[in-house]
């Protein structure tokens, strides 16, 4: 009886043939829905903080450098790629990419930092990011990725201009 089952097992093996994939020389394509490393799109992000509030691993931090600059930082250390941030993002600024080979010695390769310029509402004083691309264009001189150059930083005023709101932005140039 045992001989027979050995033969059957041999048939199973022979039928299967060679199935090992040539990874890592060649990697398999991942499915469309694959949840890899999350990518943050600075152009779409409005700094609402929904991702930071909903990250189970607390890997997305939100802090304000000043009234106008908000930093969204993705630390990427213990992120579990659950995709909750992408789920809750109202602007679809976070996408779960197809990257999975994220092993690295330098954590900076994985971390992402989004620096957002937040305008101040002239009525309530709270910060917001201009909703439309057109409004963002008014912020000439400000570069999203250039916090280091502080002279670009816009300072809001706490009072309303008497002039119409269209022309109320003055960039401090040196």
């Amino acid at each position: 009886m045992s001989v027979l089952s050995k033969l059957q097992e041999a048939v199973v093996c022979l039928k299967a043939g060679r199935v090992t994939l040539p990874y890592p020389v060649k990697s398999q394509p991942v499915p469309e829905k694959f949840r890899g490393r999350p990518l943050f799109d600075a152009a779409k992000c409005t700094g609402c903080g929904g991702c930071a509030n909903n990250c189970p691993a607390r890997e997305i931090l939100l802090f304000d450098l000043c009234q106008e600059i908000r930093i969204v930082q993705y630390l990427g250390r213990r992120c579990t790629y659950c995709g909750r941030c992408a789920d809750v993002c109202p602007e679809k600024a976070i996408t779960m990419s197809h990257e999975f080979e994220t092993g690295t010695n330098a954590i900076g390769d994985i971390q992402q930092r989004v620096e957002l310029f937040m305008s101040t509402c002239q009525r309530c004083g709270r910060c917001f990011k201009e909703p439309s691309a057109l409004e963002q264009l008014k912020l000439k001189g400000y570069r999203v990725d250039d916090v280091a150059h502080e002279r670009w930083v816009f300072r809001s005023k706490s009072y309303l201009e008497t002039e119409p709101a269209v022309d109320d932005i003055k960039i401090e140039m040196d």
Partner: protein, 558 residues
């Protein structure tokens, strides 16, 4: 009306000691009893009413009621009832009668309550440290509410040594683990060997603690926890994810939409398929039968791929949120899944046919790691270990959740009580899982995936949920709380009970059979070790010492 019936029986027997009861539905019963009557009530449930012991839970309820709380969960499998017996314990004198001499299965649970909450089970025969690491100071109890989640206790002493029991006379100590080629996770067994025979052992586990329960009640929020619960286990993560969501839903009286229930069922069964194939492979690998190891893993691989396609990841499905699921099963995936199941069935059938007659593997597994009905009852063993001993329990049928009440399947049992029977149970359950998924695909109705929950979840409600993981029943206990997070969340993974049966299973067999016996319960140490600590060393249970073994595990029948 089973719940009311049981309650009436309790009232009749114990009268005013039964303080109040909650019956949110016919499948759940919460009985509050006087602490002095707790032991008698548990004995009555366990011995006279023949309930299965599930777990003991300690809670620090001082901020709310000014007292500690202890709960013991029981399951009436034939009556489809989960029952929790709760008792308040005074804050100034946290002591409660130990139930472990009438319910041996409560041994670890009580030691854990003692370690983490600081409620002393009076009369416990072996109150050695179980969960906390060696260097942890006495008197610091991490699950108390006044202990911060990131607190390092004062007086932590790295150099403090754990005191092991002396081996019985004539025995040599053979250390097994924490790192060993056949252990996938760290755990330490001190085996007492006489010649080639194992006469007993002492277990130190709980080395991979991540403090998930503490985090859940102090840092995370309701919808964060499912993603973390999933990380409790690398094999049956989805089980914890679903069980947690269901426990909260049952506490808050939320019913997820039917489509979500079917999707949960499908994902759970996909997980079972991969887990059973993985385990059969591993068990064969342990006894040196690598052919089957390779083949069953080959057959398993497409299951991982389809899971990846549905959920976005091979293993961590991140499936549930409270009130629904996150991923849909599209018609395209549905077709693919059907084809995959056909292929799987066609491939698995000849493997099972060949292996079930293979003398070599039978010789290595017959009569090894025996866990008989008495041990199953006394230690509360669950899953394939219980079913291989002819104990017909399966939460999918006994405590139906998700869509299992609308499906037709069989519960596989075997009578051999040994490793071989467990192999057979698991190999055959693969076909049942295939059957279940096929029915789900057939019956799945259209509809929303998630419920819109507008109100805050009610506070202070109790919820229980049992989910049949591939290795046995996974039980979650939740008390809802303030600040969008539970007050207490207790996870009991199947290995927590099954490991307590190991000493009896390996006693008086050859050292060479130790690994497969241990492997046969499919131990998942990280499941068991989900609580609050940094590392290290549980104590031994009384069971380990040579002559006490049978006394505690087998002869204690009432």
């Amino acid at each position: 009306m089973v719940a009311r019936e049981k309650l009436n029986q309790l009232k009749e027997k114990f009268g005013p000691a039964v303080q109040r009861a909650d019956m949110p539905c016919d499948e759940r019963l919460f009985v509050f009893v006087e602490a002095s009557a707790l032991k008698a009530v548990c004995q009555f449930l366990f011995r006279d009413l023949n309930a299965r012991y599930v777990i003991g839970i300690g809670m620090d309820d001082r901020p709310f009621s000014g007292q500690f709380m202890v709960a013991h969960d029981f399951a009436f499998d034939e009556d489809h009832l989960l029952c929790s017996v709760l008792a308040h314990v005074p804050a100034d004198n946290p002591q409660v009668d130990s139930i472990s001499d009438v319910v041996p299965a409560a041994n670890w649970a009580e030691r854990e309550i003692h370690d983490l909450i600081g409620i002393e089970p009076v009369g416990h025969r072996y109150l050695k440290r179980l969960v906390l690491p060696d260097g942890w100071p006495d008197g610091a109890h991490p699950l108390r509410k006044d202990f911060a989640w990131n607190q390092v206790p004062e007086g932590y002493d790295d150099t403090r040594e754990f005191k092991f029991d002396d081996p019985p006379e004539g025995c040599t100590v053979v250390p097994f683990g924490p790192f060993h080629p056949t252990l996938d996770e760290p755990a330490h067994f001190r085996l007492y060997i006489e010649g080639e025979m194992v006469r007993g052992c002492e277990y130190r586990g709980f080395m991979v603690h991540r403090g998930i329960e503490k985090l859940a009640e102090s840092v995370l929020t309701y919808n964060d926890i499912p993603m973390m619960a999933e990380r409790i286990c690398g094999i049956c993560g989805c089980v914890h994810n679903v069980a947690y969501a269901q426990a909260v839903e049952s506490a808050a009286a939320i019913k997820p939409p039917p489509r979500a229930e079917y999707i949960r069922t499908i994902m759970l069964e996909i997980e079972r398929l991969h887990s059973h194939l993985l385990w059969v492979g591993l068990a064969c690998h342990i006894v040196g039968f690598d052919t089957l190891f390779m083949q069953s893993w080959r057959i398993r691989e497409p299951i991982m791929w389809i899971a990846e396609k549905i959920s976005g990841n091979r293993k961590t499905y991140a499936l549930c949120v409270i009130g629904g699921v996150r991923w849909d099963i599209t018609p395209e995936v549905k077709n693919e899944l059907r084809k995959l199941l056909d292929k799987l069935e066609a491939e698995w059938t000849p493997v099972v046919a060949a292996v079930s007659k293979d003398k070599n593997i039978q010789k290595r597994t017959h009569g090894i790691g025996v866990a008989d009905r008495a041990l199953v009852k006394n230690m509360g063993l669950v899953g394939p270990v219980a079913r291989a001993a002819g104990v017909d329990i399966d939460c999918r049928r006994d405590h139906p959740y998700a869509a299992y009440d609308r499906l037709d399947f069989e519960v596989i049992t075997e009578g051999g009580c040994d490793v071989w029977s467990r192999v057979l149970v698991r190999a055959k359950e693969v076909f049942e899982s295939i059957k279940i998924i096929r029915q789900c695909l057939e019956k799945m109705e259209d509809g929303p995936l998630q419920l819109t929950i507008k109100d805050e979840l009610p506070v202070g409600r109790l919820g229980l949920s049992s989910v049949e993981a591939p290795r046995g029943e996974s039980h979650h206990f939740v008390i809802t709380g303030e600040n969008n997070r539970p007050r207490r969340w207790r996870v009991r993974a199947p290995t927590y009970q099954n490991l307590q049966g190991i000493p009896a299973m390996i006693k008086d067999q050859q050292l060479a059979d130790m690994t497969i016996s241990l492997g046969s319960i499919d131990p998942c140490f990280s499941c068991t070790d989900r609580l609050e600590t940094i590392d290290l060393k549980s104590g031994a249970t009384k069971v380990w010492t040579q002559d006490e073994l049978l006394k505690l595990t087998r002869t204690k029948k009432a």
